[in-house]
């Protein structure tokens, strides 16, 4: 803070005596020129960024409707349809591959993992946010550290653990293991959201004779609902993204999730089902991105609140 005040002082230093009309007019014009230049720069950066980010997906989308002779002719302009587009590769993806099985596996695994995450994580976040215990600070930090331990570090011993549960090559192994990824990050987010709820509301509930537990269940959870929705989406996305555990645990086709099913089953040795592969990419990418965009503000709020008060 002190630093910026001194900056502001520095700026005012030379300018206070500027009073004559010509000078004011000159400054006004300069301001306008800057604004116009800024606008131009703004739009060019925005468009460039959007194209760079979405580029591979646009290319995927174009590809997914191309017929083979169009796609596999080197001289053809790749960005237009030199031959009429086709839905054949989408049909192949949905009807002749196990893609819908992968999608279904991803959905139910995600649903169960998110449920476990909330069931375990919500009370923990509440305890960390509200029930001031001596050890809640260090414990919160410990949980944050767990979030930073990636699957890459643990997947080898984890196959042994999963084997001991008798779940090797079984989609249920993911239901067991994925909460280790989602619980820490969800607690981090939820703690942030819960801290954002005014304590007065809860105190009032306690005054009115609610116990801590029922104040938590009936007052705090409904108020935290927007945050909880954000956590649901975030945790679900994490499970849908996960690759290494699924790749290490699962080998038979019907057990796979989208994240490993698409790259391992639609590429057979040297045979790439390119159009169907790209159709799968588009099919998955768009809906997740849409939901994520709607909730972006809440993610930012949760992360910063969790961080600042952590």
């Amino acid at each position: 803070m002190a630093r910026t005040e001194s900056t502001a002082e520095k700026f005012t230093g030379g300018r206070i005596d500027v009073t004559d009309e010509a000078e004011v007019e000159r400054m006004r014009q300069q301001r306008r020129r800057r604004a116009r230049g800024g606008r131009l720069a703004l739009y060019s950066i925005a468009i460039l960024a959007a194209l760079f980010a979405a580029g591979p997906f646009i290319w995927s989308a174009i590809t997914s409707f191309k017929v083979d002779p169009d796609l596999y002719t080197k001289a053809n302009n790749p960005f237009i349809y030199n031959l009429p587009p086709t839905l054949e590769h989408w049909r192949f993806l949905l009807a002749d591959t196990q893609f819908l099985t992968f999608a279904w596996n991803t959905l139910w695994v995600g649903f169960l993992v998110v449920s476990i995450t909330l069931f375990v994580g919500l009370p923990a976040a509440y305890a960390l946010a509200r029930l001031d215990m001596k050890w809640s600070g260090p414990l919160g930090i410990a949980i944050f550290f767990v979030y930073l331990i990636p699957p890459t570090l643990l997947f080898i011993p984890m196959t042994r653990v999963v084997g001991n549960f008798g779940l090797l090559n079984n989609t249920w192994s993911l239901v067991l293991i994925y909460p280790t990824i989602t619980i820490p990050v969800s607690i981090w987010l939820l703690t942030g959201f819960l801290k954002g709820i005014p304590k007065d509301v809860e105190e009032q509930a306690l005054v009115d004779g609610y116990s801590r537990l029922s104040a938590f269940a009936r007052v705090v959870i409904p108020l935290a609902f927007p945050g909880i929705v954000a956590v649901i989406v975030f945790a679900f996305t994490l499970t849908a993204h996960e690759f290494i555990y699924a790749l290490a645990f699962l080998s038979s086709t019907p057990e796979k999730t989208i994240s490993i099913g698409v790259p391992t089953e639609l590429i057979r040795g040297d045979v790439f089902f390119w159009q169907s592969l790209q159709a799968a990419v588009v099919f998955v990418a768009l809906p997740i991105a849409l939901v994520f965009n709607l909730l972006l503000g809440r993610f930012i709020a949760g992360f910063t609140m969790g961080a600042v008060k952590g």
Partner: protein, 324 residues
């Protein structure tokens, strides 16, 4: 269901208790009856989390260490202690050092690019302009799409024969033949870095945007009134004030890059001739595909000290960002 609706119902509040003590953050009111159970409640609430973490994070972690000192393989699952033999084998192998160097190189170069690009994007995306939602949607796509699918998209974009990038370059007459992006060591490494930058820039941008929004508007307004232009504001306000949050973004991104094997696994499988192998992919090929669990675990453990350092640095940076 709000407490106000029930306020007439229950009369458990003793009349002599002071109603609200504003000076202390915790209400003194229900102390007498709930004090014990509040501690108990906290423990009960945290128990499942702690059990989960000990059982399925701490235990596997210790198991990884045990593995690395044993001769366990998928074929022979018994744990026999062999001392430092596995570590010596790893440290003596050329591929390990390539993987180690690549892990560091990929992470450092991507982070340098990411912090610059994310700052530029954050400056743009905090402003209001037409079509902003579409730009935001596009920019977030690489982050919200599962990494493996995004990598599949890139695999096709960088295809050795049908890459549209090659087509454009040929059209401009810049190249004659194909570039074989994933077939030449340097280009393959560049491609992997490009994919990491592409997929982590959105996360970093979102984090840095939060930092930009936390700068009080008056500071920028005051500077603007005083005639400060874009660059001056950037140099004297934005950069110093978003430094801690930038550190958080970079470290998060570093952990994401560092621990990722998906991009390498799908794009190059470590090739050509192991030139793009990273620690995590090498651990996978050794431990799961090769079945040498002991050496795989040891390779993966090399990630740990570096991750720990990054995590501690994040905490420091977060603490400092509170000052804003």
């Amino acid at each position: 269901m709000t407490p106000a609706h029930r306020s007439n119902g229950v009369g458990t509040v003793p009349a002599d208790t002071p109603t609200h003590e504003r000076s202390t953050p915790q209400t003194k009111l229900p102390r007498r009856s709930v004090a014990d159970s509040e501690g108990l409640l906290a423990k009960l609430f945290l128990l499942p989390t702690v059990a989960y973490i000990i059982g399925l994070v701490a235990f596997p972690f210790i198991l990884a260490i045990v593995f690395s000192f044993s001769d366990v393989t998928t074929g022979n699952p018994s744990l026999d202690f062999v001392g430092l033999r596995q570590w010596q084998t790893i440290l003596g192998s050329r591929i390990f050092w390539t993987a180690f160097r690549n892990t560091i190189t990929f992470t450092v170069i991507s982070m340098m690019l990411i912090v610059v690009i994310a700052h530029i994007l954050a400056t743009v995306l905090v402003k209001d302009f037409k079509g902003k939602w579409l730009v935001r949607f596009c920019v977030l796509l690489p982050w919200t799409t599962p990494v493996s699918l995004a990598a599949v998209s890139w695999l096709w974009l960088l295809n050795s024969i049908f890459s549209p990038i090659d087509w454009v370059l040929r059209w401009f007459g810049l190249i004659e033949a194909n570039m074989y992006y994933l077939g030449r060591p340097v280009l393959a490494m560049g491609s992997i870095i490009a994919v990491h930058v592409w997929r982590i820039v959105p996360v970093a941008t979102v984090i840095i945007m939060a930092g930009h929004m936390a700068i009080p508007g008056e500071i920028n307004d005051a500077a603007e009134i005083d005639g400060a232009g874009f660059w001056r504001k950037l140099r004297e306000i934005t950069i110093p004030l978003t430094l801690p949050i930038s550190a958080v973004a970079v470290l998060f991104g570093a952990i994401l890059t560092f621990a990722d094997m998906t991009v390498v696994f799908i794009l190059t499988r470590g090739g050509p001739t192991q030139a793009t192998q990273v620690l995590s992919s090498w651990a996978f090929f050794k431990g799961i595909e090769g079945g040498d669990l002991a050496q795989g675990a040891a390779v993966a453990l090399f990630l740990f000290p570096l991750l720990l350092a990054a995590a501690i640095a994040i905490l420091r940076a977060v603490r400092r960002s509170e000052v804003i």
